[in-house]
Symmetry: D3
Subunit: 319 residues, 6 copies
């Protein structure tokens, strides 16, 4: 805990202001403009120019914040009470360049360098998956190669898309090429759908990634899988990258590159909760596209998963 | 059967009038203005001023009726043929006061007093969950303390909300305080999400309620659970209160206080069908908010669950 | 200007942060928790429990803020540059009680008393029209009886609704009864639709209000009308209450009590711009109901009208 | 007036039941199963199998009824108080055959024969425009050839569509061929868009119809036009057929065969109000397609126009 | 393979044209106007006039094509590479008569006669389920009685609907009456909901159909079921008819006759993939109604299932 | 006419294929892969990565094509019969790079160079307004400096956006800098809204552009304006660039940078029709964003305006 006696930030209670009132910050937390003094920062990256099919993830951070108003501080299922022991705030959005995708690499890395310099754990509201590459660059500077729990319908290891190296289908190819990921500490869960060749997933396996296809997850609990993952990760610093399209489209209709037959929401929760005990040093929730779910529920699922990531951070108090 | 030789009301057949034609009554049943002569009455309570997050449940009864047009008289799964042996009608809506929440307590209780005076079983189309408190007051006058099968994401046992005792998060606190519920005969299924403290569910346990969290339901059939519930309830009169948000948001997106990781629709059906054999004396289906599901399917799930409640009433003929 | 040499707040530029990034404050202005030091404050009142038909205005302030991101500081049509000379901020929402409508009278009045004590002009994001009554009570304490420019489909002078005196159809009846409005200084523009009797509008005329029905506005510019209104108002402090349903449903579909044949958006702009030169001491824009316009354009129309109110405040610099 | 001293039906007041409560009947009027004893009957024809582009008008009657809940009894603009002097009810829907378009000709004519036999004026909620042909057959049996005020984007005088004579683009060709229309007493307003040849409108002119294209209506009041129409019609019985696509798509997005540049809602109201004084013997409002306007406003515009037709019927009291 | 050395058609790659660009053909395949030279043809039947509840399936083929843009050529789960060995194209739509349902019987049969004369396997984008009857007539001429794997919420064996023999609830009654189906080779999966009598499903059983209700499928993998089905079918030519409403409404909200408690998407995939090894000679995917799922995901589920049918055709190469 | 005796392409008739059937090409015209042999080509540019607020215009071409199915060949208002004398086809989309905005400059210019080399007039379905700059580069190579009729809410003459020269707010700055526009032959109609300084429009005036603000257009016909524009343009080749946000949001809700108080659709039609007689050598319709108008009507308005551009091309036959 970074604060000395000062009360920790708390989500604005529904008994002080109706849930639909007040500024739309993540979990109705206070905002500040830097990560100074924080244990954890929620950060938005309002970007969709790296997407290959439907647009809209640029509006993801705004809607995730808006719908996060339903989240209260205590986790009924796990007993986690993150705001008892961590100083958490919403530090707003990365000022991305919406006309030039490549320039965002440095904009994002620099932003997270500053956050990490404060010894603050970043939890990111995406935005398209392109953002994870520059984000992992900053993570690597701070933590060295990290373990990765990657939930997604897609492996996101394309050599290039339309000849470009910067795109939402490429971040983990780039991260692996640059040595940002710890050897033998990468697991990808939920992969499925169509591709160009078996190679689309085999490259991952050749790198030593554990690939858990959606088909392997159907009809069962993922609690046993996560026990293995905890074994695999050990004490390595671990980053969680959760692409909302890892979930079934019935659960998360509001996303851009939809694939049939994904994870259920209980499985999504089991995965994140299963990271409890690991040395989680950051996480992101990406690819929420508000125009494709007017109910806002996809964004709320995203907000919930980010909250669950907060709940498994080291140092969280349980009661 | 209350009628003597007169033919019982039947849902208007799709072969007499297209499903999308005719007045939008519950299951295309005839309407009447009182419960006189009825075994069962469908009743709407078009109310949302007790809701704490998204509005819209005031429109629930209208859309449940509209979408109920798909329901035919015979239950293919259970063989129940409720209209063979029961006189059923839609008796319209309770004329609630939409500007003054507290006044609706007496309006609702009085309405149900009149219905119950006719020895008619009420099945209610909500409306926000606030309505169950005054409804149970009337039920209690007629039946004494009742068993309760309560399906919901939330325990709805808040001491107060924003300082108020009348709100959609409080009905079962009030009911318990007033002794409306039979001791040891309350089961709450589907609870989950975030709260303020473990206490949010523990209070229930301290009252002797059986709390079955959503997590306990994941990945399995609820048929065994319902066998236990039937055991628990015995011959006590039982009331079913089904908050549509007990279901997963993928199944019921159109509701106001959404929580991740809920029940599947098969589980919802197993719960209601599992009440077969109990002394069910009434039920409600609440918290359908039409603006959040333009497909209308949430309302249809609600209508279906009300129909399934009808099918498990004592005296229903099976063939 | 209240500040001494300090730079005035400016809307966050689209060249510093993409329009869809950053916190969703009104016009992307800074926030503060009180009106201290401000010339003008944007304030939200997230309320819909006073509505008689469709719900949803509780979400109005959030969506008006969200969609206001398109608004830049300079008014191309009128040359107004309000941020050159006025200190403006978004001070968040009034913490209304969403379960008890009547209690909001005092909550709202007290909130505006504090704002007005800072000599700050309030511009309010509604919320249902019930709010204007308690708001005018605070205005009256500060300014005495005020002139009123009221744009609306409805006169909102009901004696009561469902027996209640507090409802969104009653605010101007209450205001007039309490002497909050200056004699001969009330104009109501856009009234139309159906009612119970001619009396619905005649009561207004008997009070000396000028009633300009929508029919009188059809097919023409309202510039001449506003010249007369300026004449009528003279130097009296004037309050502007703009119910978005004064506009035609084609322009503002997202509202609750829709009436055919309303004002065009050019007419709406002419009305507010026509208040230039008057002693405008506050204004509100009410009845935006987001669920009924998923495009968000109704909220943007509302945000634009609030910006135009800002542009006609005394002391605004033009260039 | 057909009733003897008995009080006339009145729309259910918003002070007795919230507008969103109660059964969804037209204007919240009582229902009855025949036209017996009525001066005017609202009738739905839930049909869309005659449409050539977007479907959905089968749901028109349900949504027009639902949204008509906003309509109160008195016409503020014209002073008409139809429920003071006429007995009006909603008599439900014609039981159309939704699988066989041609069979509906006789179903519809027979239904209206029964209505007209009661000396009751039918006001019809469509449904696609195919319905006007069989409806006019019944009208003709009762009244002989009638004058026609036809508001529409299309002339609906196709020889055939896809080789069929029964389709929503053909009713007035059929009606004219069968001599159902009075010579020199047909006016078509709002025609526009694209076609196959000039002939598409010229055939009408050759029949002696007055064709008023949308272009002739742009930027002006239609009050003068209607003065001419009244002159033209004289005492002839007049039928009003209002296709909602006569209005601009901005006003009525929820329809199937959309054409740019239509009438404004004020113009639509001027047309129907301009029929005041004529011997109006029936009317219909067709082509509302709910799935294309989730706000419901197109249906409300339709309901309003039907109400305005009611207000211009002979014998309506004004106050 | 029908072609000699010429390169086979391939879906347009996302690296040549963005997924959202180019003409909206099925899987971005080339189009041709006949089935000449093709092994497999995708064919649309844009029809909804056989539907009994919600309309909209007329737009199904257009949206299935549009959303199919996400599908890439290789099946990651099964290794199928259909475009390695089969010549496939989109041959457009059957020019149905949208005003006269019965006439479509011959239009459809004649169209498929021509397709089958080219020894081309038809995969059909519906459209309402009425189409399967005339389609099976053509299939029967080519292949004799066929086995049928029928996934649906409904048995679709009504004697008639509203007195008509041609309707979307009757195709398999007609097919059975005409001897189009092979004895003992019909399986119906996913049946559920309400009906008029037990008879609704019992007729099927009396015909020797295997009826697998949805309830029998809940909470488990359908891989074992499909092993039995393969046993049952043997070498008989098999047709797959997949009504999207066989899936749970959470997965496929965009359909017209919705029933609670259906199959999950993993189950849907297991069924089609489980047909691998059978002599599949055609298939259809019907009842996608775009207006009821603005996200487009129902159509994408439909497109995916059609792609999976393609992947199990005899002669498909796996790698 | 470029063809010799061969019949000219015609839109597929609604009597050959239902409007909702067949491939979704512009106006249901045939497609070809180059402009060879064409007088006019419809071309899509599926791009939105140049947009500064809401995304979605990447889907514009697909939806414009889809909704254009309502357009028939003959212009009822003007008598234009473009398919009598011109060979027209849809030649598909420019294969833009959706990850790198700047690279599209050359992609687009090269594509249009090829089209113009065939002496074919391009009519473009956007896509965001960035595309007009590279398109005008190609136009300039062919025609030299051109006159410009630019309908828009915005002048689109930003020096840069977020430091970038390539963005949808900059095309006409770039075009003017590069000398692509003829001196004294530029008119901008519909400009309005908010900006940073008067300069936003004054720069245009300094370049000699005629700026016609929306305010100058309110409440009147634009026929007189267009007479002046024809005078101004004389024989100069003229390009029409129509940003759909020039229209009022009520008419065109589906766009990204919405401004209050725009042109009515009749005015939009008057502008394009008013170009009759000019030497129009190309045109575009940009900024249709489908996710913000689920009715599809914005796209249909766009399709209609493109058709009206076709109708005013030199050489169009009138009858």
């Amino acid at each position: 805990m970074t604060s000395f006696g000062a009360p920790l930030n708390q989500p604005l209670s529904g008994n002080e202001m109706p849930r639909f009132g007040g500024l739309a910050t993540m979990m109705r937390l206070p905002t500040q403009t830097s990560a100074a003094g924080l244990d954890v920062a929620f950060i938005g990256i309002p970007m969709d120019i790296g997407t290959s099919n439907r647009p809209g993830t640029r509006l993801g951070p705004r809607q995730i914040r808006d719908e996060s108003r339903m989240l209260r501080p205590y986790n009924m299922a796990t007993g986690a009470a993150p705001f008892d022991s961590l100083q958490v705030a919403d530090i707003g959005d990365v000022p991305i360049n919406t006309f030039n995708l490549a320039k965002n690499l440095d904009i994002i890395t620099a932003f997270y360098d500053r956050v990490l310099a404060e010894n603050c754990v970043p939890l990111t509201l995406g935005g398209d998956h392109t953002l994870t590459w520059p984000l992992l660059r900053a993570i690597h500077k701070k933590h060295g190669p990290v373990g990765l729990i990657h939930i997604d319908a897609h492996a996101d290891v394309n050599e290039h898309m339309f000849g470009e190296e910067v795109a939402h289908g490429c971040p983990f190819r780039r991260a692996q090429e640059e040595g940002l990921l710890a050897e033998g500490k990468v697991v990808q869960i939920g992969l499925r759908g169509t591709g160009y060749a078996a190679d689309d997933f085999d490259w991952c396996r050749q790198q030593g990634f554990r690939v858990v296809t959606a088909e392997e997850c159907w009809h069962k609990s993922l609690v046993p899988l996560m026990a293995e993952v905890r074994q695999q990760m050990g004490n390595t610093p671990v980053y969680i990258s959760f692409d909302i399209d890892g979930l079934d489209p019935s659960v998360a209709p509001g996303t851009g590159t939809v694939e049939a037959g994904g994870l259920t929401m209980p499985q999504g929760l089991e995965i994140v909760r299963g990271a409890q005990g690991l040395n989680v040093i950051g996480g992101d929730l990406v690819e929420v596209s508000p125009p494709y779910d007017p109910s806002g529920n996809t964004a709320l699922m995203g907000a919930t998963l980010l909250y669950e990531m907060l709940c498994v951070l080291p140092g969280v108090h349980h009661r």
